[in-house]
């Protein structure tokens, strides 16, 4: 863990905002932001104030000493969590890419089919097409009712999901 990560961690642990920490150290919020993003480092007097504010040793703050056992355990724990999350995120990403690829392939297939039919039709003077979609005449009414109910549940679920999502935002 380097300096900027320690600073972020200490600030989070003490539940301080960047502005509050900046006020404590007598610097601007932008300065704290630059330290935390690694774009600049505090001067020696500023480092002393940071160590004083968090009651931490300067060597420890700068990463010159080994982490405390508790920190080590925490770090290990966090590392394990990250290791668990990484494959999950990768799977999610692959699933998204696969869905997008399938949609793109379907759209491309539709476009090609449309062009093929348009070219075919162009060779004739008149044409008509029809999709024949039907279910067997002896299909029990209960099956149709189940399908209708499923569609209604689907619409309701989407509606509820949109409401919940809207509230979260």
């Amino acid at each position: 863990m380097d300096f900027r990560e320690r600073l972020i961690k200490l600030r989070d642990e003490n539940r301080l905002s960047q502005q509050e920490l900046a006020d404590m150290l007598d610097v601007t919020r932008q300065t704290v932001s630059r330290w935390e993003s690694g774009r600049s480092y505090p001067s020696i007097p500023q480092m002393a104030r940071i160590c004083s504010a968090f009651a931490i040793d300067a060597n420890e703050m700068l990463g010159c000493t080994a982490e405390k056992p508790v920190d080590e355990a925490q770090t290990t724990h966090n590392g394990a969590e990250e290791a668990q999350q990484k494959p999950h995120a990768k799977r999610k990403f692959i699933a998204c890419v696969a869905v997008l690829a399938a949609l793109f392939a379907a759209a491309l297939g539709g476009l090609i089919a449309t062009i093929v039919y348009a070219v075919k039709d162009a060779g004739y003077d008149s044409s008509a097409t029809v999709w024949v979609v039907s279910i067997p005449q002896n299909t029990p009414m209960i099956v149709l009712c189940v399908f209708l109910a499923l569609f209604m549940v689907l619409i309701a679920a989407i509606f509820i999901y949109m409401i919940i999502r809207g509230k979260r935002r």
Partner: protein
């Protein structure tokens, strides 16, 4: 929640697809008309078919002196097939005669129900050229 909705949609689509493809009817038919070298040609094609059973198609060419619907035209020639499989075509060619308004109608029977599709009437001269 997202996964549940996606799964639900996929399940319904799969169920409908399976129901129509395995036990019902799911096909795409077309009928086309063309004139050439003093003849009029009508073509019925089973473009896409996922159905279990076959489709019986009767293809008829109608003619009249005035532009009107197929119901009011006179049938001049027809052909029939009891089973038009996916990708197959049924073709019918007839003489253009003195020309006039021509129309092609495909009557198809599937699942014991008969329906038809007809293309728009086209005016041809005696040489089969579109007027």
């Amino acid at each position: 929640m997202k996964k549940a909705i996606c799964g639900f949609i996929l399940a319904i689509c799969a169920a409908l697809f399976a129901l129509s493809a395995c036990a019902g009817t799911f096909r795409f038919l077309s009928v086309r008309l063309n004139g050439e070298d003093g003849t009029i040609t009508a073509v019925a094609i089973n473009e896409f078919d996922l159905s279990r059973g076959s489709v019986a198609v009767k293809l008829t060419i109608y003619r009249s002196d005035e532009r009107t619907t197929a119901a009011e035209m006179q049938a001049i020639d027809s052909t029939y097939t009891a089973a038009l499989a996916a990708g197959e075509r049924l073709e019918l060619t007839t003489d253009a005669g003195e020309g006039g308004w021509f129309c092609a109608v495909a009557e198809y029977t599937a699942e014991d129900a008969t329906n038809y599709i007809e293309c728009d009437p086209v005016h041809y001269d005696a040489r089969g050229n579109r007027v």
